[in-house]
Structures are given as C-alpha cells and as structure tokens.
Amino acid sequence: MSALIWLIPCALALGGLGLAAFLWALNSGQFSDLEGAGWRAIQDDEDADRAEGPRGRPDAR
C-alpha cells in the first residue's frame, strides 16, 4: 500500500495537468472559432510577412 503515497499524487497531478491544459485552451480562445480554424489550414497564406510583425498575436497563424 506504500505505493499509494506517490501513485495518488501522480494521478492527481496528471489529471490536473489535463485540466490546466483545457482551461488554458479555453481562455486563449482555442474553441472560439471552430469553423474558421479548419478553413485556415487549407488556405494559402499570402501575407505571412505582415502578421509576423512585433504585434502578430501568437495565435494569429
């Protein structure tokens, strides 16, 4: 039973990691445009040079 001492915290930590990832995705707007994201992947990027300026948001590409 001594394995429980580290197995339970491990299980909780892994679950917590998943939860944190989910909350991060939600807060950073990953789910806000489910339609558009799919379309963007198949579009040719013509002004990649423009968005990579200092103000290009990390999720803008």
Binding site: L19, L23, L26, F31, S32, G36, I42, Q43, R55, A60
Partner: protein, 742 residues
C-alpha cells in the same frame, strides 16, 4: 449601452490635434455578414491589414466577426467598412449583443464542465477502488483515506461547478416557484453535506461520487442546450448587418460624405451606385435605373425607376447610379416598419412552454414530496434521523432529473446535427418542438415554391450559336433575365465570353457594336429599333443578331422541381396546404395548380398575411409558414413555426425557426420528419428516465440503495438517454400522418 460603448472604442476619425498624441492602438469588432468560407477569411483579413493604420485583423468565421486593431489617428471604422464593401462584404460596427453574452456563458459552462469532469474522474477512480476493496482485503484506514481524498477533490469542485444550478434554484425560490434546479441543488448539497459527515464518522454511506457525477452530467445537458441557443441567436446579428447600411450623401456644394444610414434625415441627397442597396426610403431625383425589389415585394422582375419614383430601403439598385432624396429617417422606413410588425408578431410565440419545462412542472414537486415522505416515513418507523436522512438523500439522488435534464438537449443536438448535414440550419432552440406540432403548412410563392429567379423557357427553339451570342451580351448585366440567359448558355456547355464594348441602356437593354453587325438584347422596342412606348410584355426578351435576325427569349419563374411531390406527400400525411402570396391572382393560381395546392390567396400585403395566419390560429390550427421575402417576415414570426430558404431576405431568415439550402423543397419534409421524430424521442427518453425511477425509487425508499447503486443507476440512465438520442442521427425517417384532435 452598446452604442455608447462602441462610440468610445472607435472615435470619429477627425484628426484635429490627435496626430500629436502617441498612437494608442484601438480595437473594434466588425460584423461581416456574408463570410462563408476560407477564401473569405483571407480576403477580409487582407483587405483590412492592407489599410494604412491597421495593425492587425483577425476573423472569427463562426461568429462572422472581424476584430481589428488600429491607430485611431490614421484610420477609423467607416474606412474599414468601405474597404470591405469594395471587396463585396457587407460589414457593420458590432454592438454588444445578447449572442456575445450567450457565448461567454457557454465558455463559463465549459470551464465548469472541465473542472467537474476532472473531479468526477478522480473521485470515481477512488470510489471504484473502495467498492472493489469492500469485497477484497482493503483495510478500513485506506478506505477512510480514500473517502477523505474524495471529499477534498469533490467539495471544491462541486462548490464551483454546480453554481449555475444553485443560482437558478435560488432565483426560482425567491419568486416562490419550483424549477428543475431546486431538487438538483437540494440533492447535490444534501448528498455532499451528508457524505462529509459520514466521512468524518468513518462510515461507508458516502455519496460524493454520485454528487459529482450528477453535476457533470447535468452540466453536459446545460451546455448542449446553450449551444443550440447560441446558434439561434447568432443569426439575429445578420439583421443588424442589413440595417446598418452606409450611405453616400451629397451636400449642396456637391461634396460627398459617407455616413451610416441611421444618421440620415429626410431631405438629404444620396448617391446610390449600381449594385448598391438603397439605404433609406426616398424619391429618385436624377438618373434612371432598374430596381430589384424582390426583398420587399417578393416579385422577381426588376422595376424601372426614373426621376420622381419612390424607392424603398433595402432594395437593390441594379443598372445605373442614381441620386435620391431621403423621405424618411431610418426609424420609419418600410424595413423598420416590417421589423416592428415582426417583433409584435413574435410576442405571441414567447409564451410557448418547452417540453422539458412542462415535465419539470410536474416532476419537481413530486421529487420533493417523495424525498420528504421517505424521511418522515423512516422517522415514524422509528429509525434514527441519520438513517432517515441518508435514505431520503438516496431517494433525491436516484430521482434527480439527470436523465430528464439530458433527455431533451441530447435529442435536440442529434436532430440539429442531422438536419445540418442535410443543409437545414435550425435557429430557434424550441423551433423543433413547435415544428413537431404543426398541422397546416402555408407556402409563399416567389422564391419559396418557385425558385425566385427566371429561367429560359423556350431554350429548345434557340440554337447554340444564337444563345452563345446572346449570352455574350447578357454576362454584362445583372438583370435577372440576362443572368438567366448566361446561365442557360453555361448549362449547355457553351463558352460565355463578354462581347467587346457591351453597353447597358437602363430600361431598354444591352448593345454591342461589333464589326460584323450590331448585337442587341432587350425589350422588343429596343431590339426592333422603333421608339415605341414600352408595352412591357412580361416574361420575354428579344435578341437581335449580327445578321439582323430577331429571336424571342421567353422566361418563367420555374416552380422548384419537387414542389408538387412535396405538396402531395404533405397532403397525403393529412396536412392542410395553402399558398399565400402578394403576387397577381393569375400568377398565383398558375403556380398553385402546378404545385397541386387547392387553397390559395393572392395579392396579400404583409399585414394581410398576418391576418390570414391569425385567422387560422383562431380556428385552432398550428401553422407552419414557409416563406422568403421581406414581406413574409411578419407572417414567419406570427406563425407557430416557420421555415425559409437560404436565398431569403436576411430579416426573413432571422424570423424563421430554420433555414434550408439548395433548390429542392424536400428539406421541408425532412425538417418536419426530424422534428416529429425528435419530439417522439424526447418522450421516449422521458420514458427511459421514468422507467429507471420505477425500478430504483422503491429500493431507495426501502433503504436498500447503497452509494454504489445510486451512482451506477444515475450514470446508466444518463448514458441510456444519450445513446437513444444519438440513434436519431442515422435512423431512416418518413413523415408520419398528422394527428388531429377529433
């Protein structure tokens, strides 16, 4: 509030003294109405990013919005709207709307669902160990440790994740009403408190897993419900897009200024370019053109307008730039009037009580009575308060309307996604329920039973060369007949190339002076070269080829190919089918005959349409209105349920419960069949949920339900209703005969 907010976000681009300030980036949200695909994303973002002063532009396709970061000193909102207009997109400044609040609420629910899911998974993990341990060698201290761990995980999670239920329950109680959330909150709170107490005492009656699973499943139901609602609300944004047109105002000195249509006052002179929508009701001051009024009247043929003619807001100027004088402000245009009629008509529909709410009205009190009776019963029987309370909680958890709260949303999501696959977008959250109750179907004519666009009728009499030559003129015009000619040529596989030097003469036709001879396409007088006053023979166009031969091209507004099939299926299923149109009696009776509809009204005005529908309602009929024109919008809102084709006016699409795409009319049948099936399925799901209760409630009342059984029964019934709902996605459906009250 929204107006004040956007005004502060986007100051007008007057630059007095502003250039000296350090440029601070501003952000504005634009509603871009007609974005549909990936190409639109790229075009819109590029158009905005290439403007001076715009730092970044990001499109959200689902919300049909573009968020723009810009320097207020260099640009403003109006130039952005103009830039998008040049690309062919109608944009408007976004106002803080209900749909934005809705999507924030959905995000909030999703966050709570994530937390509840995490906690439920971990608590279940621990609980399963304890249950397994009960039949093997787990000692008491480990079981107790697991209970404590569960409590530590579950309690904060419940306190956070179940808040939507607590809030809804407390606001219901404050006005002395019971809703579904009252027994839910009571069950969750009591189970958690009791479990904590039992954990401290080291007993086995711990219901934490049941409490957190309950929260998790209920949140899923709540989220599904919210998503159906968001889709419904998002469509309303289009209406705002339609209303916030931009006008080009010409003042006394001939200076030109762009301003929003809502700022127009009577007397202003407005320039309307070819291809633009007329921003306000007014009178033509100079210029002649053809006006497409299909949005207002449902009539496909453009109307010829010269100086002195009245024009309406929302109609399309087709052939040539005109100048008009505004005769009404934004608030009293025909468009605004129709919007008001629509709002008034919608009031009646607001009283509709949804199936789940009707079930809750019966169910919630029953649950409370049962829980209380169990507690009192056990107290009378002489058991201690602890046993009595534990049993009462088990009853509450077992009866907790988890399956009930999931039953309807799960069915609705399955139904809407099935319809979505068939090109039908369900907009109103309760639309399917109302559609299921319909027993009378009223169709509009132009654009609904018919395709709303003329097609070449006598194509067989015209040779390929002639058609190709006519099409080479026709491609230069937006007149519906010209479009029909060009399309007929393309359908035959002919290469359509615009003839060099094509000129459009508004009200007459097209001319191309070629070396071989002159080509003309237009009215009979125009083609024959006689300057006779127009006899206006409806439904035909003449073509003069290079050898001076004349050909008549005849057109008709073709009935949708499967219209008569759909009508006969509806009639066979016992629905009453009518045709309600604003068009001339002759045209209406012709279409009615071709579609096989016996009962029809012609020449009906928008308010007249409401009257017809109100009259049917008064006779106890549940009416489904299928229509597309702006003139149908009030009727769509007044009817018990409504459908409109995706070619319909924006305002009609807003009023309709569902919008269908494509040329065939069959989606109407599919929508009705799915609506009926989903209603039946919701009832089936209620049946499943009640079935579980019939089995487990007696056990719970008798005190035989352990925490394990409570958690399992609840999860199983939730899964059962969800799986049952999912069957709707693939099942073959036929329209069942309508039930009539005898």
């Amino acid at each position: 509030m929204g107006r004040a907010l956007t005004a502060s976000v986007a100051p007008p681009d007057t630059d007095g003294g502003r250039l000296g300030e350090a440029a601070r980036p501003q952000t504005v949200s634009l509603v871009v109405e007609n974005m549909h695909c990936g190409a639109c994303i790229v075009t819109v973002e590029r158009a905005l990013r290439h403007m001076a002063g715009v730092r970044d532009a990001r499109v959200n396709l689902s919300a049909k919005r573009a968020t723009v970061t810009y320097d207020a000193a260099l640009t403003g909102t109006q130039p952005m709207i103009d830039a998008l207009d040049r690309e062919g997109y109608r944009a408007a400044e976004s106002v803080e709307t209900a749909s934005e609040l809705d999507s924030r609420r959905a995000d909030d629910l999703l966050r709570r669902l994530g937390v509840a899911g995490f906690a439920a998974a971990n608590v279940m993990l621990l609980s399963v160990s304890v249950w397994a341990g009960a039949v093997s060698d787990m000692d008491q201290t480990v079981a107790s440790l697991f209970h404590w761990l569960s409590a530590l995980i579950a309690m904060p999670a419940i306190a956070y994740a179940a808040q939507p239920f607590f809030r809804s329950a407390s606001s219901a109680l404050r006005v002395r009403r019971l809703n579904m959330d009252v027994p839910i909150s009571l069950g969750i709170t009591l189970a958690t408190a009791m479990s904590l107490f039992q954990t401290i005492r080291g007993s086995h009656q711990v219901y934490l897993d049941a409490a957190i699973m309950l929260t998790f499943f209920l949140l899923i139901g709540r989220l599904l419900d919210e998503q159906v609602r968001i889709k419904a609300r998002g469509a309303v944004e289009n209406l705002i897009g339609l209303k916030s047109l931009t006008a080009t105002v010409v003042d006394g000195d001939g200076r030109v200024e762009r301003m929003p249509a809502r700022a127009l006052v009577p007397g202003m002179k407005i320039q309307v370019a070819a291809g633009e929508r007329i921003p306000v009701d007014g009178r033509v001051v100079s210029g002649t053109t053809d006006i497409d009024e299909s949005l207002i009247t449902g009539e496909t043929m453009p109307r010829w307008a010269a100086a002195g003619a009245d024009v309406h807001a929302g109609t399309l100027n087709m052939t040539r730039a005109i100048k008009i004088e505004a005769t009404a402000t934004d608030d009293n245009t025909l468009l605004a009037e129709i919007a008001r009629l629509m709002q008034a008509a919608e009031q009646g529909r607001g009283q509709y009580v949804r199936l789940a709410d009707r079930a809750a009205r019966v169910y919630a009190p029953a649950v409370h009575v049962l829980g209380a009776a169990t507690f009192i019963g056990w107290m009378i029987a002489g058991a201690g308060w602890e046993t009595a309370l534990t049993t009462a909680i088990a009853v509450l958890i077992i009866t907790c309307p988890c399956a009930l709260a999931l039953a309807v949303p799960a069915v609705q999501v399955a139904a809407t996604s099935r319809l979505f696959g068939k090109g039908v977008i369900v907009k109103a959250a309760d639309g399917l329920e109302r559609l299921a109750e319909v027993d009378t179907v009223v169709f509009d004519k132009t654009g609904t039973l018919t395709r709303g666009e003329p097609v070449l009728k006598n194509g067989a009499e015209i040779s390929d060369e002639t058609l190709a030559a006519a099409a080479s003129l026709a491609v230069a015009s937006r007149h519906p007949y010209s479009v029909a000619v060009a399309r007929a040529a393309r359908d035959r596989g002919l290469a359509v190339v615009a003839a060099p030097g094509v000129l459009e003469v508004p009200g007459s036709g097209l001319i191309a002076p070629l070396a071989a001879g002159e080509l003309r396409l237009g009215s009979e007088e125009w083609v024959s070269g006689t300057d006779l006053p127009s006899q206006g023979q409806a439904g035909s166009l003449w073509f003069l080829d290079a050898e001076s031969r004349r050909f008549a091209l005849r057109f008709e507004d073709a009935v949708r190919p499967d219209a008569s099939d759909v009508v006969s299926v509806l009639t066979a299923a016992g629905y009453e089918v009518c045709l309600l149109s604003g068009d001339r009696p002759a045209a209406v009776s012709d279409v009615a005959e071709r579609a096989g509809i016996a009962q029809w009204w012609a020449g009906v005005k928008p308010d007249g349409k409401i009257d017809v529908i109100a009259d049917m309602k008064a006779r106890g009929k549940k009416v489904l209105m299928v229509g597309d024109g702006l003139n149908d919008a009030p009727a769509l809102a007044a009817a018990h349920a409504s459908l409109s084709p995706s070619t319909a006016a924006d305002i009609s699409q807003t009023a309709a419960d569902a919008v269908f795409q494509g040329v065939p009319l069959a989606p109407v049948l599919e929508t009705m069949a799915v609506a009926r099936a989903s209603q039946r399925m919701s009832l089936e799901n209620f049946g499943i949920a009640i079935g579980y209760n019939i089995v487990f409630v007696p056990l719970a009342v008798a005190g035989h339900v352990t925490p394990l059984i409570a958690a399992l029964a609840m999860s199983l019934s939730s899964i059962a209703v969800t799986v049952n709902a999912l069957r709707l996605r693939t099942r073959a459906l036929a329209l069942a005969p309508v039930r009539r009250p005898t």
